[in-house]
C-alpha cells in the first residue's frame, strides 16, 4: 500500500485556520500523513464561497478525498454536490452537515461532538463548582458571553443554560453580554457592562463560546474588584489561553475548561479517510467523541489522557 500512498492526496479544510483548535487538528492530521505516507493539503475556508473554491482547488490538484469542518452546516447539499463533481470522497469533522430541511445528512461520515453536549458539560462543571463553594442559585448572577451570529456559539451557551436552569438557576439572573467580536477584549468590555449594571450581585458564573470569551468575563470581574472566589468561569477548548490561566501562580476565577480532543478529530479522521481511499474501507457514519473537564489541578493529566502534548 505504501507505493499507492505516494499518490494519495487528502484535503483537510477548516473554517477558522487561525484558531488554535484547528491548528491542532491539522497538526494531528499531519501526524497521520507522516505515519501513512500520504500528502495532506491544508486549506482554510472562512465562508461558503472560499470552501467551494477550496474543493475545486483540491480537485484540480488531484486529491482523492477530503475532511472538512464547514463554516456552516447548511452548506451540506452544496458540499456534497461539489465533492461529487470533483470526484472526491467526503467526510466531516466537528460540525455535521444538514440538508435544506435541517436534518443531518446521514450519508456523510462524521466525527464530532455536539455543541449542545459541550455546553451541557460546561453547565454541569459550573453547577458542581457552585456546590463545592456552597453558593445558592438565587444569589448568583450568570454572564452569558454571547456571539449569536455563530449558530454553534448559540448551541453551546444554550446547553450550559439548560443545565443551570435544571439546577434551580432563575432565568432573570442570567445576563447577556454580547461580544462584538470573538476576542477576549470584546468579551471583557461586554462583561464589564453587565457586572457594573448589577453591582448588587456579588457572586457570578460565566460561560461562552470558548475559553477566550470566558476569560474576558473573568478579567472583567477582576477589573471591577470581584475576587477570584467570587466568580466561576468555565471555558471550552483547552488550548493555550486556558492553560496559561492554570499556570498562573494564584488561582483565578477561570475554574476549568472543557477540553475536546483535537487529536481524535484530526488524527482519526485523516486516518479514516486514508483507509477509505487506499483500502476502500468506509468509515463509520457517525463517531461521537466526548469532552473532558480540565481544572487547575488535573489539566496535565486530562490532556495526556486525550492524547494531547
Amino acid at each position: 500500500a505504501s507505493a499507492y500512498a505516494q499518490d494519495t492526496k487528502i484535503g483537510f479544510i477548516v473554517k477558522q485556520p487561525e484558531e488554535p483548535w484547528f491548528q491542532d487538528e491539522w497538526k494531528f492530521a499531519d501526524q497521520a500523513a507522516r505515519e501513512k505516507g500520504f500528502t495532506l493539503v491544508k486549506i482554510g475556508a472562512e465562508d461558503g464561497e472560499k470552501l467551494m473554491s477550496a474543493i475545486d482547488n483540491l480537485g484540480a490538484q488531484g486529491a482523492q478525498g477530503f475532511v472538512v469542518c464547514t463554516p456552516d452546516v447548511k452548506l451540506g447539499p452544496g458540499i456534497v454536490a461539489k465533492a461529487a463533481a470533483n470526484n472526491l470522497k467526503l467526510m466531516t469533522v466537528d460540525d455535521r452537515l444538514v440538508g435544506a430541511d435541517g436534518k443531518p445528512l446521514e450519508d456523510v461520515p462524521h466525527m464530532g461532538i455536539s455543541a449542545t453536549k459541550i455546553g451541557e458539560a460546561v453547565g454541569q462543571a459550573i453547577v458542581d463548582e457552585m456546590k463545592a463553594r456552597g453558593w445558592k442559585a438565587d444569589e448568583v448572577g450568570a454572564i452569558r458571553v454571547s456571539y449569536d451570529q455563530l449558530p454553534t456559539a448559540v448551541d453551546r451557551v444554550e446547553g450550559a443554560i439548560s443545565v443551570l436552569k435544571a439546577n434551580g438557576f432563575k432565568a432573570e439572573n442570567i445576563f447577556d453580554a454580547p461580544q462584538a467580536k470573538t476576542d477576549t477584549e470584546a468579551a471583557l468590555n461586554a462583561a464589564t457592562v453587565v457586572l457594573n449594571a448589577h453591582a448588587d450581585i456579588k457572586k457570578w458564573v460565566s460561560f461562552g463560546l470558548n475559553d477566550e470569551a470566558v476569560l474576558g468575563a473573568v478579567r472583567a470581574a477582576e477589573s471591577v474588584g470581584i475576587p477570584a472566589d467570587g466568580i466561576i468561569g468555565v471555558g471550552i477548548g483547552g488550548a493555550e489561553s486556558a492553560i496559561n490561566e492554570f499556570k498562573k501562580p494564584a488561582a483565578t476565577g477561570f475554574v476549568g475548561t472543557v477540553i475536546i480532543s483535537p487529536k481524535r478529530h484530526g488524527y482519526e479522521t485523516a486516518l479514516d479517510m486514508y483507509d477509505w481511499i487506499a483500502n476502500n474501507k468506509e468509515p463509520a457514519k457517525l463517531t461521537l467523541t466526548a469532552g473532558a473537564l480540565a481544572k487547575r489541578d488535573d489539566y496535565e493529566k486530562v490532556r495526556k489522557d486525550l492524547g494531547i502534548e
Partner: protein, 316 residues
C-alpha cells in the same frame, strides 16, 4: 526592439502585459495550475469579487467609497432564498433579491449625495444595518434552499463553462462599455476628477452618484444570488470583509482612490491577480499563517511594479 518593448510596457495596457507575464510564470512554476479544471475553479472563485468590482470601480472613480457591499451580498442571498422558498418561484426570488440590493444602494446614494454625509460613514452604517437585517430575518442561521433548480444557477454550464463565469464576463463587458462610451461613465470620471468643475459644467452630480450606488446595489444583488446558489443556502454571515478584497482588486487594477481614474481592463487584472495568488498558494500548500505574509507581499509587489511602470512614464 527594447524601445518597442518599453512602449508596450508603458502604454495604457502595460498592466495587462505585466499580468500576462506573471501568469505565464505562475503557470510554469506551480504544478496543476494550468489545467482546465483549475482555471474554471479559479474563475469561479473570483466571481463574487469580480462582479462587485465592476461597480466598485465606478464608485471609486467618482471619489466615493462603499463598505456595505459584503452585507448587501449576504442579505440579497438570504432574500433570494427566502423569497423563492416562500413563493415557490425562483424568478420571484431573484427579482426580490435584486430589488433589495437596489433599494439599499439607492438609500446609500441618497444619504451620501443629498444629505452630504461622508461615504465611508454612510456605508459603514448601512453595512451594519443590512448585516443586522440579514441576521434578524434568519435568526442568525443559514436558510436552506427548497428547490434544487436554484442550485442550477451555479451548476449549469454553457459551452462547458459554468453560468456564473458567463455572468461575470457579461458584466465585465457591459461595465467596460458603460465606463468608456456612455455619458454616465464619462460623468462618473469627471465627478471624481473634479467635482466642482463637473457641477459647474451642468453634470447632475447628485443624480449620477445616486445611480452609481443603486447600480452597486443591483450588482451586489446579482452576486448574492449566485453566491447563494453556489453555496446552496442563504447565509447571513457570508461575504464578511468582501469590501476590502474588492477595493484592493480595484486599486491593484489602477483605479485611483482620489477619483477620476479607472479602466475595466485594469480592474479585471486586479481581480485575477488576487484570485491567482489565493489559488496558487493553496496549490503550493503554503501553511495558513505564511499565506498572510505571501498575500501581503504580493499586494505590495503588484502595486510597486505598476508604480515603477507609471513613474518610468514620467507621471507623478
Amino acid at each position: 526592439m527594447t524601445d518597442q518593448l518599453k512602449k508596450i510596457l508603458l502604454g495604457e495596457q502595460g498592466l495587462v502585459v505585466i499580468f500576462i507575464v506573471a501568469f505565464a510564470l505562475v503557470s510554469l512554476l506551480v504544478p496543476n495550475f494550468l489545467t482546465d479544471r483549475n482555471m474554471l475553479g479559479l474563475l469561479q472563485s473570483v466571481v463574487t469579487v469580480g462582479i462587485v468590482a465592476c461597480t466598485m470601480m465606478f464608485c471609486l472613480a467618482a471619489r466615493d467609497f462603499d463598505l456595505s457591499v459584503g452585507s448587501i451580498v449576504a442579505f440579497a442571498g438570504m432574500v433570494a432564498v427566502m423569497a423563492s422558498n416562500t413563493t415557490g418561484s425562483i424568478l420571484l426570488g431573484l427579482i426580490a433579491a435584486i430589488a433589495c440590493g437596489a433599494v439599499v444602494g439607492w438609500v446609500n446614494g441618497v444619504v451620501i449625495a443629498k444629505f452630504r454625509i461622508n461615504a465611508l460613514i454612510t456605508t459603514l452604517a448601512t453595512m451594519q444595518i443590512v448585516r443586522g437585517f440579514a441576521l434578524i430575518s434568519s435568526d442568525g442561521r443559514a436558510v436552506g434552499i427548497n428547490s434544487p433548480d436554484f442550485y442550477q444557477l451555479a451548476l449549469s454550464k454553457l459551452l462547458g463553462i459554468p453560468t456564473p463565469i458567463w455572468v461575470l464576463a457579461v458584466l465585465f463587458a457591459i461595465f467596460g462599455f458603460v465606463l468608456n462610451s456612455t455619458v454616465f461613465g464619462k460623468n462618473t470620471l469627471a465627478i471624481g476628477g473634479n467635482p466642482e468643475a463637473s457641477r459647474l459644467a451642468g453634470v447632475n452630480v447628485d443624480r449620477t452618484r445616486i445611480w452609481i450606488f443603486t447600480l452597486q446595489g443591483v450588482v451586489c444583488g446579482i452576486a448574492g444570488i449566485l453566491l447563494a446558489s453556489r453555496i446552496t443556502s442563504g447565509q447571513p454571515n457570508a461575504a464578511v470583509g468582501l469590501e476590502l478584497s474588492v477595493i484592493s482588486a480595484c486599486v491593484l487594477g489602477g483605479v485611483s482612490l482620489a477619483g477620476g481614474r479607472a479602466t475595466m481592463s485594469g480592474v479585471i487584472v486586479g481581480v485575477l491577480i488576487m484570485g491567482i495568488a489565493e489559488n496558487a498558494m493553496n496549490l503550493l500548500n503554503i501553511p495558513a499563517f505564511y499565506q498572510y505574509i505571501v498575500r501581503g507581499v504580493i499586494l505590495l509587489l503588484a502595486v510597486l511594479l505598476d508604480n515603477l511602470r507609471s513613474s518610468a512614464l514620467g507621471r507623478r
